[in-house]
């Protein structure tokens, strides 16, 4: 029988247990999270707003952050984890500089999204739901974005690309990476 490797009944993780780079250990980021929590903790249904704000301003909602929010709001962490994993807008890991979202709506799916994903994973050497090692691009799938007439559709950050073929992907990705290095040079 495997012996579980854990600290018995640690009521909630203390900050000391966390990795250095986690937002809760970066004072500026923790301040942002605390301000968000303070602002919305008493608003009915405030959990969604809080998670939204954390996602937008910190960039991701890691496990320790979920636990921290749970503790402050006195909400079970399992409930928060449920919400975070339900909505594709929320991520538990940092996103890359750019996000490619492949539409999995029926029209896009039939129109060739699986082939697009396969190609993108091959070019970037990463998996859907993950980010390239250089932190540039994240691959994701999403639900129908309402542009079925242009299927298959890929949403790059806020920009929508329709009727995409696997053969066009290398150029698209080059373009994104170039824009990214340009912008980072500014």
């Amino acid at each position: 029988m495997a012996t579980p490797n854990h600290s018995y009944a640690l009521a909630a993780p203390t900050l000391k247990n966390l990795e250095k780079e986690y937002p809760l250990n970066v004072p500026e980021q923790k301040a942002i999270i605390d301000r968000i929590l303070e602002t919305y903790c008493d608003v009915p249904g405030g959990l969604m707003v809080i998670l939204n704000e954390i996602q937008s301003r910190v960039g991701f909602i890691s496990q320790p952050v979920q636990e921290y929010v749970a503790r402050v709001l006195n909400v079970p962490v399992s409930a928060i984890h449920g919400v975070v994993t339900f909505y594709s807008f929320f991520t538990t890991e940092p996103r890359g500089d750019h996000t490619l979202k492949f539409c999995m709506g029926t029209a896009c799916y039939v129109g060739g999204t699986p082939q697009l994903i396969q190609k993108a994973e091959q070019i970037l050497g990463t998996k859907t739901g993950r980010t390239t090692p250089d932190g540039k691009i994240t691959l994701e799938v999403c639900r129908c974005v309402g542009a079925c007439s242009q299927a298959p559709v890929v949403v790059v950050d806020e920009q929508l690309y329709g009727r995409l073929r696997p053969s066009k992907l290398p150029a698209l990705i080059r373009e994104i990476t170039k824009a990214s290095s340009n912008s980072s040079g500014e």
């Binding site: 029988m1 495997a2 012996t3 579980p4 490797n5 854990h6 600290s7 018995y8 009944a9 640690l10 009521a11 909630a12 203390t14 000391k16 247990n17 496990q63 979920q66 636990e67 006195n74 079970p76 962490v77 399992s78 409930a79 928060i80 984890h81 449920g82 994993t85 339900f86």
Partner: protein
Amino acid sequence: MPFIFINGQPYQVREDTNLLRAAQEAGISIPSLCDHPDLTPYGGCRLCNVEVKGLRLPAAACMLPVTDGMEVYTETEDLVEARKSILKLLLKNYYDSGNGNADKPNALLKWCDYYGVDTSQWTRKEPRYAIDSDPNPFIRVDLNKCILCTRCIRACAEVQGRFVWGLAERGFDSQIVAGSGVTLLEARCESCGACVEYCPTGALTHKPSFGAELPEKKVQTTCAYCGVGCNFDLNVKDNRVIKVTSNPNAPVNGVHLCVKGRYGYQYIQHPDRLRSPQVREYLLKGMPKPPAGESPWVTVSWDTALNLAANKLAAIKRESGPDAIALLSSAKCTNEENYLMNKLARQVIGTHNIDHCARLCHSSTVAGLGMSFGSGAMTNTVADIVEHAQAIFIIGSNTTEQHPVIGSKIRQAVLRRKVKLIVADPRRVDIAEFAQIYLRQKPGTDVALINGLMHIILKNNWQDQAFIDQRCENFDAFREVVEKYPPELVSKITGVTEKDLYKTAETLASNKPAAVFWAMGITQHTTGVLNVLTLANLQMLLGNMGVPGGGVNPLRGQNNVQGACDMGGLPNVFPGYQSVTNEAVLEKFNLAWQTTHADGSTPPLFNNKAGLTSTEMIPMAGTGKVRALVILGENPVMTEPDANHTRECLEACEFIVLQEIFPSETSHYADVLLPGVTFAEKEGTFTNTERRIQMVRQAIQPEGETRPDWEILADLAKRILAVEKRRPTGSHAGWDYASAAEVMDEIAAVTPIYAGVSHARLNTGAQLHWPVKDLNHSGTPILHIGEFTRGKGKFHPTEHLDPQELPDAEYPFLLTTGRVLYHWHAGEMTRRSQGLLDVYPDAYIEIHPEDAEALGILDHQQVRLSSRRGIALGKALITERVSPGLIFANFHFAGEQNGNNLTIAALDPVSKIPEFKICAVKLEVS
């Protein structure tokens, strides 16, 4: 009552119920997977969809309130087709690697079978998830069988109140996860097994009994761990306990159990069990006694062991008088056995030197409540409190770990009825999460805290003056003392803010009835009795006594510590708290237990002076005033304060007879070892913390040559009487019992509060809370209705006193001791149940992060605690449960890991309870 039509037939059904439940109660089966009567309806599986006249589409019966005149059809062709589709869709994601729980039907497969859905055609051929994917030693997780009915999620939230399980991801990827997608134990799972109990398909199963064969029989019995008194079934095959299963008829707990009750049964037939009587070799050879533990054990017959013990005890009595012998009874044993132990001490040996571990846990409660009300037990039942209390005040009780099922019921009351919960404890115990107000008072300041609350209540005139005037006395003297505890002063003594004090007083005053719960945090102090008196004052002041949902509710620790007290396992009372100083009582027992010598003379009458308490008899064994100890199922080396001193005393004691199930730290010092049995091997009764008397039923034959403890005691008593040539002549003086039931009949005859108790009544389902005045009396679930046992409730003025030993420069930390969820007292049972040891393998010492940082201590690092009396080693557990400067250690682990090496034998002057909760220690990295 609404009338509804189901499939054309009229039925009268309950109001305020849903259609599914109404149909079930009318005996009509509607298929369902996600529904369970204990849980809130979910409407997830859609198998219970029915057609209702007037509704365009089928509706889920579990979500549909019944209305008068409703016309429902439950098995139309369309419905059957829809159900088949649902079942097929579920099977598409269902992979079955075999059923590990032979006696629990799989609801999914049952309905597939019912509707003729071919499972082999539709189930997955490959697993999607790892089988047995969680390392929890008790709960086996196989998501391949999960149908997302969420019963586990609801059970964890609504029954256990822990919220470990959740639903993550969505669509095809949906799955149940623990916490934020971690392992169960990391997600703070308490391993109660409720999720398993409610799982309909076997996605969650009991790991320790996975794959066990079908039991030959199930025996309903009462749990032998804590005082909650849960019932469950021992499952037996080939004379072995193969598992524990819930029994829905269990009066206290229903199907709910805690980790120890459900999974901590492996000790019952552990290889370490003592299986035959043993005596020290020096006794057989007639040599002088060598230092303790040096003379080897020799396995002997029962005759040899018992004759040796009887002769030696009789000789000591002859030489030094009966008071040179002292007896420790056992709160782990049955009422019948405790009664016999008390009879052995008083009738056979002729001493009141009998005590048991209640001295160490609730002696201050028994004394304090006796003074206030005339009866020292919990006044209300748990079911009554969780149903009727408007507020619950828990002080000094780690309820969810020490009385887990009561803890979960209190959580349920907070969740379902929004009961106002106030928790006061120097440690931020888990139940504090559910509290509306959490007070972290400094250890040893409880009198000041409660007096401070009562000061505020009186200042605002919130007291129940009518109750006080009619039912209480000594109010003015009490009021005068409380005057001296204004919030400013109390805040300074206790460390609780004035605002919190005010809020607490107001909450208690405006939410009635309020029930108070307490445990060792109140009692184990040099001010233990004062603490109890003060809480009794509070409840009288608020008029919360003798009403449903109120009362004073000390949670008793051991399975039968209430019963051991009731049965006269105390130095100052005969069974039923009949005082040894009362002449009429002495006369009664002199007659009932009379013996006659061969020459026709009778032994001297019982003396009218209370005997020694356990905290006195052990030191006196050290000085030779007590020459022999007879110990039944206790382990004083582990559980008495200042263990090193206890060891010295036992070492010095001339003769120790120990009746035990395992070799223990105490058996090292014993001279005669009599192997008793566990609760699974004998008949009898336990009395739980609510004064509820319940049956313990034999499930298996005793191991090896062991005998039920009541038989051993009777045999020993008869032999001592024979040595002394005494004949039992009184009405209840004999020792020829054919069964434990006969012992209970004798108890009933001499104990007014048990007068109406018999095994026959209990076996036919009677729910009896003492006092049970006669065979027709139905018991007394709530005490002190209309009048207190002593007549008027008495207010006792109480003052704050400092603890005996506070931190200083040399020993700068304050140590408080206690237990943890996964272990039981001295650990003999739980350290022999593998899973429990897997989860909690070491003596963890809780340290606040600030202190750990200051001393450079890392989580899980070996540390060393030392006090003026000894040292204890353990692993650091860095947690904010304790406050800075406070350290928590347990006493479950033997030898150098035992927290009682450190504790101080400072005693409460009235009850002689030791101050386990406060002593000064030094903390170092070892």
